[in-house]
């Protein structure tokens, strides 16, 4: 029999990567994101008995998500409205992996592209940003995203569609 604590410990570490990526995309600050993940993990440990052992990933990401939302509500009350802060996303630009090419021109272009996509995603309201990140970067299913965000799967689909429409509009607009 698998002991929940062991299982929890292993799984929790396994999903730390996804947890941080989600938090980082939601709060858009690396230090706050680290705090969020830590806080979420402490909560998760506290409530780990409530974890039934099926699939820990959506469960733990849901805690991370809710922790981030609590923070957003008290620290970024304007976050619900679309906003864009170039400075906040400049580090995303720097952390792009530079190993793809040594050609400076191509590197610059790829960085610009990365920066543009990052910026466009960052512009989306958190509810749209999270579905996009979970779907495209984490490859979660609609059902899993529904668990994370605490919404019906149908809402996940409509939010994802809206997020894509907005993102597409933004990217197409910028390109012209």
């Amino acid at each position: 029999m698998n002991k929940p604590s062991q299982q929890f410990e292993k799984a929790a570490l396994l999903h730390l990567r996804a947890a941080y990526n989600l938090a980082r995309w939601l709060v858009r600050d690396e230090h706050v994101a680290q705090d969020m993940v830590q806080e979420a993990y402490l909560r998760a440990i506290k409530y780990s008995s409530g974890f039934n052992g099926d699939d820990i990933r959506p469960w733990i990401l849901g805690i991370v998500r809710n922790t981030c939302y609590t923070w957003l509500q008290s620290n970024r009350s304007g976050e619900a409205i679309l906003e864009f802060d170039e400075n906040l996303d400049s580090d995303a630009y720097h952390s792009m992996n530079g190993s793809m090419t040594n050609n400076p021109e191509a590197l610059l272009l790829s960085k610009q592209e990365g920066s543009r996509v990052n910026a466009a995603i960052a512009m989306l309201a958190p509810v749209f940003r999270e579905v996009l990140v979970l779907r495209e970067l984490e490859g979660l299913t609609y059902e899993e995203i529904a668990t994370v965000a605490g919404i019906p799967a149908g809402t996940v689909m409509s939010r994802l569609a809206r997020a894509r429409t907005m993102l597409r509009a933004e990217l197409n607009k910028e390109q012209q």
């Binding site: 604590s5 410990e9 680290q34 993940v37 996009l132 495209e136």
Partner: protein, 217 residues
């Protein structure tokens, strides 16, 4: 290029959007937190014992460093000097434990551990084998505290690791046995035979006190 299809957009996002990697620092913290909370089972221990020890050790080191600095401040009041020592203590500990070495000499035999220190220290720390009482000596290592190399003895009780730091008393700072709790770690400090002892563990205070009593005899 006009982005029309979802698939096209997905490819673009996957290729261009940043996947933020969790910093090692965060991984360390989380692992330490988990290690301190979820006690591994025996079978589990076999697989991850070294990892677990590493994190636990690091936690202990941090706690010990912090506690030591606070305790030292408390007992001495020589703020400036003690702050300096405290930061050395923390730095030294973290460094040694980051290299995942809890013990430089791994032995359950006090006659191996004790001689190992000679030539490395200008004093001979008392090393006792308390395995008959359930506190198994697992090894020792050198550490640096209070501007001097000190002996660190490592004991194991069930799944709990106990670190005991021993060095000669410089002044009569600690006389009676004193217990402290910081960040969930229990610390007991005492002095005996011209040596000061600092025992730190995630073990409960009763058991740690029993350990301190046995070692301090």
């Amino acid at each position: 290029m006009k982005l029309k299809e979802d698939a096209e957009l997905s490819r673009l996002i996957q290729a261009e959007a940043t996947y933020y990697e969790a910093p090692q620092q965060l991984r360390d913290k989380i692992a330490a937190t988990l290690g301190g909370v979820a006690l591994p089972e025996a079978e589990h221990k076999k697989n991850v014992a070294s990892e677990w020890h590493r994190w636990l050790g690091m936690g202990v080191a941090f706690a010990c460093g912090v506690i030591f600095s606070i305790a030292v401040l408390f007992f001495h009041g020589e703020t400036e000097t003690q702050n300096r020592i405290a930061s050395q203590v923390v730095a030294g500990h973290v460094r040694s434990l980051m290299l995942a070495h809890l013990s430089d000499v791994v032995s359950t035999d006090q006659h191996t551990v004790k001689p190992w220190f000679s030539g490395k220290l200008d004093y001979s720390p008392p090393v006792k084998n308390l395995s008959s009482d359930g506190f198994e000596l697992v090894g020792g290592r050198l550490d640096y505290m209070d501007e001097r190399p000190v002996a660190a003895l490592v004991y194991q009780h069930q799944l709990h690791t106990i670190n005991v730091f021993v060095w000669p008393v410089r002044d009569a700072s600690i006389t009676a046995q004193s217990s402290m709790v910081l960040q969930g770690f229990n610390i007991i400090a005492w002095q005996n035979g011209g040596m000061q002892y600092w025992a730190v563990s995630d073990l409960n205070n009763t058991d740690l006190k029993q350990f301190a009593d046995l070692l301090g005899k």
